[in-house]
Symmetry: D2
Subunit: 421 residues, 4 copies
């Protein structure tokens, strides 16, 4: 069913040392256009504006997820004889490799503006991209659908789904380590090899030996720290605000039939519904297109778009301050104040909030198993894990000169204190 490549292929990798490819199927998938496009999509979106090392791409991460899955399967095979059949093994490897294939540039930001989900495209690519689909169909005609079933988190292959997307999945294992290495922080480090060694397949679940509790705690904490220190760093959130506002302004201009540079690659995102857009159209979009567009927008006729794009390109980011959660009427007051100073609050003001990652036990928790077979959720065993309740923080974002009250601006801190915000 599967051909071994003529000689084993390896990729040198800063996280795993080597990434091993033994199957021609995997090798061919890596070489498709759809997969190579991931080289032009950064793993952490705008985080490189906070941590300059965060320049790594989803291509790199996807290879790492594949390799982590390969390691897990190698352990499961040796210890438990699972999965036993080549098809399930390939299913798990392909799903690991391809689960992010639909990611667009700065995904999380542009999805909110253009109303789509990259997951949807990840699935469509497997079925509709001729190259990817043809390669997957070599296993059997049903295979592409089955990989989609896994990355859609459906229930046909529950164990594989657990390995790809749960609180203890190969995706997160790779990104915590990789983002730590690239940003230069130690917060995301954990004992990967030991974590894999304490995991085992049990029925439809992945469980962890009780003796491995602290290894899991260390992994959960890695995630906790990385959320606060990297993924939801205020400077990164502020970069996202700029990006979102620029897109919103461009959309507004386009809807109003105002002159606007729009590359062919971006046009369908504005003119079509996601269902109308073809996979081919979708795959033409990447961060080089978006960055180029920002270049052009930084010279746009429209002053607002020009300013926002220029700020993004040249890293003149918005600043931010902490607030409590605001009521709509309070937000309205702040917006009015901005307007009264000649600033359009739709574009120069944002109320943001970030939620640090907690541990969610009821929706797919992590199960510990004692030697006598007794099972419990890690949250029941670990006060540490229980303490990680999601905490929401609120911030107001706006240009730094407004924040500081430079020039003709009144300092925003003063306003807010007056408002007791």
């Amino acid at each position: 069913m599967t051909d071994w490549v003529d000689k084993e292929k390896v990729f040198k990798d800063p996280v795993h040392d080597y990434i091993y490819v033994f199957d021609k199927l995997i090798w061919d998938l890596i070489n498709t256009r759809a997969f190579q496009r991931l080289r032009r999509v950064r793993q952490l979106g705008t985080a490189y504006l906070t941590y300059h090392g965060a320049e790594h791409t989803r291509f790199t991460h996807s290879l790492g997820v594949y390799e982590t899955m390969r390691k897990v399967l190698s352990h499961f095979d040796r210890k438990f004889g699972w999965p036993g059949d080549t098809r399930t093994r390939l299913l798990a490897l392909c799903a690991a490799l391809l689960h992010d294939i639909g990611h667009g540039p700065f995904s999380h930001t542009i999805e909110t503006v253009f109303k789509f989900h990259h997951e949807q495209f990840s699935q469509r690519i497997l079925l509709e991209d001729p190259d990817v689909n043809e390669i997957l169909r070599r296993v059997d005609p049903q295979f592409p659908e089955d990989v989609v079933n896994v990355i859609a988190k459906k229930d046909k292959f529950p164990l594989v789904v657990k390995l790809i997307s749960s609180q203890l999945d190969v995706d997160r294992m790779d990104y915590l380590l990789r983002d730590a290495v690239n940003t230069g922080v130690t917060y995301g480090r954990f004992e990967l090899e030991r974590l894999i060694r304490v995991m085992s397949p049990q029925g439809n679940d992945i469980v962890v030996k009780k003796s491995g509790q602290q290894t899991v705690e260390q992994y959960i904490l890695a995630r906790y720290f990385m959320y606060s220190q990297v993924y939801q760093h205020p400077v990164t959130l502020s970069s996202d605000v700029l990006l979102r506002h620029a897109f919103l302004r461009a959309k507004h201009l386009h809807m109003s039939d105002r002159a606007l540079f729009l590359p062919d690659e971006l046009r369908p995102f504005l003119d079509k519904t996601m269902d109308e857009m073809s996979v081919e159209e979708y795959l033409r979009m990447d961060e080089s297109v978006m960055t180029y567009t920002f270049h052009r927008w930084s010279e746009a006729e429209d002053a607002i778009l020009r300013d926002l794009a220029d700020r993004f390109i040249n890293r003149r980011l918005f600043g931010s301050i902490h607030t409590r959660e605001l009521k709509e009427v309070e937000k309205q007051t702040v917006r009015d104040m901005f307007r009264s100073q000649g600033l359009n609050p739709d574009y120069f003001l944002a109320f943001g909030h970030s939620t640090a990652a907690g541990y969610h036990m009821y929706h797919q928790g992590i199960t510990l198993v004692e030697e006598d077979g007794h099972r419990m959720d890690i949250a029941d065993a670990s006060p540490l894990v229980r303490s990680l309740k999601p905490i929401t923080q609120y911030r107001i974002f706006c240009p730094k000169e407004v924040l500081r009250g430079e020039g003709s601006y009144k300092p925003i801190r003063g306003w807010l204190e007056a408002l007791k915000i």
Copy 2:
């Protein structure tokens, strides 16, 4: 003369852990558009197509060169009281930070096509970019010229020049370590802290204590290994061929007045001499522009440009084989063979050579000093260093299907053997 920033600024860095900024001057330079542009120029050009981790940029490297200089100066200050004056210290720091500011996208490749040198623009930017120049002039009106003097390797500040560009310079110290970390290889590692500790300023020269000979050897070898394993890896060279050929084809089409997508940012590179081009025009170019252009070229009307651009974007690289050095008449025979198979040798064939880094003693060698003051070049002291003679290797690059003789192609190996090449 210099203001300290209100609180010291740091950048988290995968190589140096933290990069420290104490001077407002440095902070302001980092925040200029010209410097931020370096975020959009990869450090290693196309090497990311060989080592997927090599996605780091010249922004990151430039900060690292600055930090390495800061460490060297801190050591020199403590041990030798050099330089003693703030102006020279700032001169060294600014030159370290800005020495790469003129780098364009895929510099080494496009410079050969468009006939210019990034060094020339590095110098012009310091003098002509209004922001950068204004910040540098805060020290004194002569300061920008003096930084240019250093990065042009002129002789006004010989010690600072040695620190910036010699066989033992902060530029190389940072890039060897940084490229090693990002590609994941150990070849570029060396004992940075010890290397700095054995260096000292002596007259107009930087010398090294004899007891530090092996530390220098380790550093020279790091360079030797990185050249072969990374910088001149055949796959990287092959990616450069594609890039160069695509540009040459585009230039040809443009000269022949054929239809061609040309972004405004690229146009001056084709239509103006480098002297005619303004710094502002130059700084509009970066890798997002180039990559976007390749996207569009991959859909060009011209079949050759379309194919080359598509190969680059989707990593369908040329393959290559070793040859001996070929005479012009032999090259002509090979070109004719390509032509006879319907392939334009100007675009689908390249004769390349790479020269592994040796140690060049006569042009700015590394001087060792014994305790009794006796000086010698490291090449005189070290058989190891002497053994590192530059070695040139020759390769022929062409599409893999031609190499393998797939489809209607005759396998090139056969031809070459027949030709005794």
Copy 3:
């Protein structure tokens, strides 16, 4: 007051890369017999029987504590001008270097048998060892007393005391990192440089910027993990039991005037009170003496001592099982069972408990300070830290053959279950 050494001295170190010595005072202290003795006392006692890499000594750690203090003082000096005077700087450095100088072989274990505290000897050494005292007195006649004052945690120099021994001290910073490096686990890693950067002296306290909360959390968790994974690993505890029982048996034999190999170095520990013992006598003891003694005891006439010593030397350790907390009457029952099987429970049975490190807020907590000066204990700010309540675990230790019920032994698990223990 202090002489700079003629050239700066460095030690190459696996944790800090280099350890820098600038003061002749420090250099001379390192070269005393008392300090060199620490090369013969392992940092983690018997933990090398669990983690084979844990072979590092208190010598190494003491240099690391010194270096960490040097880094903290360098930061405090640059940012806050503290301490300002050389004497306080030397006081802090000497206290850091010497705080462990009284550690004996397998300290924690032999202290319980021979009834003394190494802290007491650390203090006496500074006052009574002629070399150490003479060197310290070079600063001024009061200096040795002042260093003692610091390591005795008295209140004359509260800030220095905080830096040496509190929940956020240089001792712990070094040992967590060092023990992690040597055992090969990542659990003890944290962001040392950032931690130092968020600390500041404030009045008589060391406080931490609120923005550094997670850095402190990471450090507190490093300790939490290292306690469970390394310091209180059941195998290490079991090794300690053997050691303790062998000493107890030897003491018993000696008291009963039974024949026993006793090296001169050990004799005073049995025959004198700690007050009677001189510092010179104390310093003759180290792990080579103890290990040699165990060699001899492994050939002792007394069967019990011979067995215990042989088990220790040849790593035939006791096993252990989890229990709940036992009442004295239950323990008595277990002891009787051992006796009924021909095993002396004083030596072949131990009831142990270990308490994982929690965070103790009321006795010297860690204070966070917000930008507006508001102070709070980290436990008030961090649910994570609050969750780290000390948890006590109970174990029964005995020979593995008894545990498994091999030979004529009845399996202990069976007994205990019958007893509902």
Copy 4:
């Protein structure tokens, strides 16, 4: 033939992350007294007096050699189906694990004094130690002899011998990495995983793919650097001189029937030939015995022994200076000068030389193989390797006070210059 252990055993390791044990045979060998003794023999002898981190033992290294062999075999099995049979696999693993089992304390030094070779005892232990021999014989009665055959480098199993002891062996691979990690230097680092991947068994030889030439060069250079920087560091050599002289003095005193503390464990080394000594007697010796003996000798009646032992224990090492190679008559002159100053040159003077590791091609070189099967020695392919000729350096060792001419001593440098040495 081999039993799998009930659950796979692992050791956490600073070099290999985890060391895996799958065979009960290996597990049982590790738990023998003879193997556990290696915990009391440092890997690098006295080098810990130069690099304080070098406290690791031969126990640790032996596990690492085993693990490296396990990795090599795993690669050879997957790629070449070698060795195919379990017996050869176990032979290679046992030989790797046990090849150092005969190492005594400070081996290289005491062997010259007591005239024996640890290799001889390594072999005898496998045959004569009842535990080790019994475990090995479980494979078959011939098995212990065959392991001896391998570690004696005989020709029955040439491929296994090559893997254990040649210029490219698992012993060296582990110790270079391990010694680098523990001393904290980068000099010993190389690409272990890649090195293994380019190796292959070919007939009776281990060969390396030509494309892996630089990986081998990096490994050979690691050795070159580690020799100069660590193994033959002048301070380490000086520590060895002290050790050797103390032993020689003790031997002299014992031969002269002078009073001397001699532990039972050391006595056979003085009173018996190595052939007369039993394996049991040999195995009683370790570094705790030797260090304890030095303690006692540091209080000896004999002034010379007392001084030498005290210097060693308290690290008051001899100093040294470079010389050219001296003729016997010149040495005699220097000895006379020492005598004339009241110093016994047999104990307070040493003429030493160290030879940096070169690459020896004719006795077991490293063979490269090109794709077309062409073979060559790496020295023929690599100028770098050829440049590594063994270089001998000469030094004179004596007390530092003599070197500096302190007190009544005339400075030795002066003498030597006068002698033109």
